[in-house]
């Protein structure tokens, strides 16, 4: 590896809290948050009561396990790699959908013990790296750090430098101690920017190829829809970095520009890639529904100077899809939805709900930053009024439960995190999971049909709720949702 590769991405990334003033605790309305954001008075507050949340280590582990052929080593006690099996499931399904033979994702835990935290875990990490290289002959090995390895001060980057000449795989250290950030996307920054170490300088420029960052929850049918649209613009998609051959990671800088299917996750990486290799980027919202897919395509078109082509495409697609959506709108009009994902996805699905005549009563996001929140929220406030509840919480089940109880929505538009919570409070779920097709124009139609289906038989959630005992005191539901956000008023 040439030394210039070590200039960027090889050091600890700034946290989202510090770099973007990202917040993880807020309850208010769409109008309120937009107003506060513009006045600069939207500040992070702590919760006095909190529940299981998310850490910076989760996304590097899960995502790097899904780079084709890669081995991920969690330099941690054994529990930190707990999500590997679930990722294995997503990985196998993801490979099947891409016509690849299913195989287990490769993850190793250094299994730090009491002995290791006293005497250092370096030797175990060295053994794991050497063995991973021999066992799997992978193109790359990502090494992620943990709370334990961080506090005991293991020099992971030093070990990697020392071992690199001895192994065939490219070693990619990712500094992502869990305690560093309460914002899960700090982990995305650590993960994606670590890949800058292995992206080669461009030898050529491929003007017809757009680099597209794919989050792990975006399954193949969504990529196919994006490819269909880009194809009509004469563009090829190069997916990055999941389920893709490692050479497509290496030559990422040769593309004409980069866009993301989730600008929340790619925020830091785009800026770093631009600085290092001058690759242009755009950060439109996730392309869900008509308006936000138009937005996404227009931003891409502007970056590549093909605005007219894009307008033609939009016109053509609308003519085709609108009648189908109108039909579905008749069935869905007036329903009330609770939306819960990371903020980028929530707001994009809220845009689709608006187009389907569904009222959004609550939009939940795991974090908020002006960078990837404000323009979307202002757009939505104009289109559906700004009185919907906007909730920001790195999970926080008690607040979700409070809002389910208060709003009694007709359905949840949500994923793995909120799905069970909704059902147990009697709210049926129209899930967006790895495997759900919902992006672009055809995805909008498909997902709207899923909602119709989800509402056809709500027996499970209705009956379930009658048998569930929530763990909260009754008094909690009489308080305000934001009661535990911020210092106590004494």
């Amino acid at each position: 590896m040439s030394s210039e590769h070590n200039n960027i991405g090889n050091t600890t990334v700034p946290t989202r809290e510090n770099r973007l003033h990202t917040i993880t605790a807020y309850v208010g309305s769409g109008n309120d948050i937009a107003g506060k954001a513009k006045n600069g008075c939207l500040l992070q507050q702590d919760r006095r009561f909190s529940q299981s949340a998310a850490c910076a280590e989760m996304m590097p582990l899960c995502n790097s396990a899904l780079i084709d052929g890669n081995v991920v080593i969690a330099h941690s006690p054994v529990g930190c790699s707990g999500m590997l099996s679930l990722i294995n499931l997503i990985g196998k399904t993801g490979r099947l959908m891409r016509g690849l033979p299913p195989k287990n994702t490769k993850g190793i835990s250094t299994n730090l013990s009491e002995h290791d935290v006293v005497y250092g875990g370096g030797p175990e990490l060295e053994k794991a790296i050497l063995e991973a290289d021999v066992r799997h002959n992978p193109p790359a090995i990502t090494i992620i750090t943990s709370c334990a390895s961080g506090i005991i001060g293991d020099n992971v980057e030093g070990i990697v430098k020392e071992l690199q000449p001895k192994v065939r795989a490219t070693l990619i250290p990712i500094q992502c101690e869990g305690f560093r950030s309460g914002v899960v996307s700090t982990g995305y920054d650590a993960f994606l920017s670590s890949l800058l170490q292995v992206i080669d300088p461009p030898k050529i420029k491929r003007a017809d190829t757009l680099l597209l960052v794919n989050p792990l929850s975006i399954s193949r049918p969504n990529e196919v829809e994006i490819e269909r649209l880009l194809d009509q613009l004469g563009l090829k998609a190069q997916w990055f970095p999941l389920f893709t051959d490692f050479k497509n990671v290496r030559n990422a800088s040769e593309t004409a520009g980069v866009a993301s299917l989730c600008s929340l996750m790619s925020n830091y990486f785009f800026r770093q890639l631009k600085v290092k290799y001058g690759v242009s980027y755009v950060e439109p919202p996730m392309p869900v529904g008509l308006e936000f897919t138009d937005w996404w395509l227009r931003d891409v078109g502007r970056m590549l100077g093909i605005e007219e082509k894009v307008e033609d495409l939009i016109k053509k697609e609308h003519a085709r899809v609108r009648p189908q959506l109108d039909e579905l709108r008749e069935e869905l009009q007036g329903k009330r939805a609770y939306i819960g994902f990371n903020l980028e996805k929530s707001l994009s699905l809220q845009s689709l709900m608006t187009e389907l005549g569904i009222e959004t009563v609550v939009s939940t996001g795991f974090e908020y930053s002006d960078d990837y929140g404000l323009d979307r929220i202002e757009n939505l406030n104009k289109r559906c009024g700004g009185n919907y509840t906007l909730h920001i919480g790195n999970f926080q089940h008690f607040e979700w439960a409070h809002l389910f109880n208060r709003e009694k929505p007709d359905l949840l538009v949500g994923g793995l995190e909120l799905g069970g919570a909704a059902l147990r409070q009697g709210v049926p779920v129209a899930p967006v999971l790895p495997g759900t097709f919902y992006l672009g124009y055809d995805g909008a139609v498909n997902y709207a049909r899923e909602i119709v289906k989800a509402l056809r038989n709500t027996a499970y959630s209705r009956n379930l709720a009658r048998h569930v005992q929530l763990p909260y005191r009754k008094s909690w539901f009489r308080q305000k949702t934001h009661t535990y956000i911020g210092r106590s008023e004494q």
Binding site: P77, V78, G82, I108, E124, G178, R180, P471
Partner: protein, 429 residues
């Protein structure tokens, strides 16, 4: 300890959390980094055959979510605040503080903070369970022992025909609830009451655990910490028995009756009826046995708890040939010779090769080197089964290709389930 590819367990914090999730009206208070509770929910409840368990389990688990400033300046104030607010928000009889790596490494005095809340009408207990202390089984050991130490009251006398059941780790055994229900059903039939049953125990049972006449430890490795504590402090002897499956269950019930010194008239009737039930179904299997099961050599990959009971049933009742057993739970060294011995004395003195191996890559190699006809293992082992074209029944952790609700592989009914599921796995391969 050594590195592990595709681990089959979470950490000590995970084991403690799983145990708390088996208790009635008990809320955990996780004092750890922000991701621990969620990673363990994904990595344990999902990987244990998809189970949402716990009074305040899953994403509802209270957690202090300590960040860098707590690591630098200490997390005790944050923990104090979190316990106070948990008492306000969560309606529970018992609040159980468990700690993760950060608290363990920076040395927060959890005992002192927990102590501040005692005697205020709320039961607050704690256990130090940082992930680096060990795997899920270790966490279960620490949490059970600490809970009994802090909650169980001395008893004036023992109650006749009562037992505590220990050693089955929730979710790590995906079929824990079904297995414990079968054990409880059988004990119940012969007139024995459980105080701690391992599933849904509440504050009252925990306080009265000292009244039991006998502790039953359903594992060669796990549950010993609690059993030793109850023996030393409350004078309760214990019987250690790997989860019994099939006819082995009859020996188990007889041992229990013997130790509790009670009349065996009812016992004989129950055993006869239960064995009749088992064989009624195994008779049904006889017509197709030669087609489906005869002469099959099996390889088994699982934890020690399961492996012994399953091997005994498959060999001694079902007439299969045990080729190898791979024990994945990193049993403590001093216990290993005893565990090896548990595979002696099978039908016709057939002895499987016994390996202690948690690493998935080396496990796959062992399967290749000792190629069996059928495999029992976890979802991870599907890959090597496919490579070797072996039928596989998945039943051990991590289990992500099955849903585990009430199914069981223990006792007589569990044995029938096992024969049924194994036959089906072979036929559908």
């Amino acid at each position: 300890m050594s590195f592990i590819e595709s681990p089959r367990s979470t950490c000590a914090l995970g084991g403690a959390l799983a145990y708390i999730n088996s208790l009635a009206r008990t809320a955990p208070v996780i004092h750890a980094g922000p991701g621990c509770g969620s990673v363990l929910t994904f990595g344990q409840n999902f990987d244990g055959g998809y189970q949402h368990i716990g009074h305040s389990g899953g994403f509802a688990a209270p957690s202090s979510n300590t960040l860098e400033r707590h690591v630098v300046f200490g997390g005790e104030d944050r923990l104090r605040e979190q316990i106070g607010t948990t008492l306000e928000v969560i309606d529970a009889d018992l609040y159980f503080i468990i700690t993760g790596c950060t608290a363990g490494l920076i040395g927060d005095d959890v005992r002192a903070v927990a102590g501040e809340f005692s005697g205020k009408g709320k039961k607050v207990v704690f256990a130090e369970t940082p992930g680096f202390k060990g795997n899920t089984y270790t966490g279960y050991e620490i949490a059970t022992q600490e809970l009994l130490r802090q909650i169980t009251k001395p008893s004036r006398r023992k109650r006749q025909l009562t037992v505590n059941v220990l050693g089955v780790v929730p979710a790590q055994d995906p079929f824990w609830q079904g297995n414990l229900a079968e054990i409880r059903r059988l004990l119940d039939r012969i007139g024995i009451r459980t105080i701690l049953s391992g599933d849904g125990d509440g504050l009252v049972q925990l306080q009265k655990a000292s009244e039991a006449k006998l502790n039953i430890v359903l594992s060669p490795t796990t549950g010993l910490a609690a059993a030793n504590f109850l023996q030393e402090t409350h004078g309760i002897p214990f019987l250690q028995q790997a989860l019994p499956v099939g006819t082995e269950t009859s020996f188990f019930l007889r041992r229990v009756a013997e130790l509790l010194e009670f009349d065996s008239g009812l016992l004989d009737t129950v055993i006869r009826e239960e064995e009749d039930y088992l064989w009624k179904h195994l008779i049904k299997l006889s017509e197709a046995y030669a087609y489906i099961l005869v002469n099959r050599e099996f390889g088994l990959i699982g934890d020690t708890n399961y492996a012994i009971g399953l091997t005994r049933f498959l060999t001694n009742d079902l007439g299969l040939i045990p080729r190898f057993v791979i024990l994945t739970d990193e049993a403590p060294q001093p216990l290993r010779s005893g565990i090896e011995a548990a595979f002696d004395g099978l039908e016709n003195n057939i002895r499987p090769q016994v390996f202690f191996e948690p690493d998935c890559y080396r496990i796959a190699d062992l399967v290749r080197e000792n190629r069996p006809d059928i495999l029992l293992g976890s979802t991870v082992d599907r890959e090597v089964a496919k490579e070797l074209s072996l039928p596989i029944l998945t039943l051990s952790f991590p289990l992500t290709d099955r849903v585990a609700l009430s199914n069981s592989y223990a006792g007589y009914r569990g044995a029938v389930n096992l024969a049924e599921d194994l036959g089906s796995a072979i036929l559908s391969a």
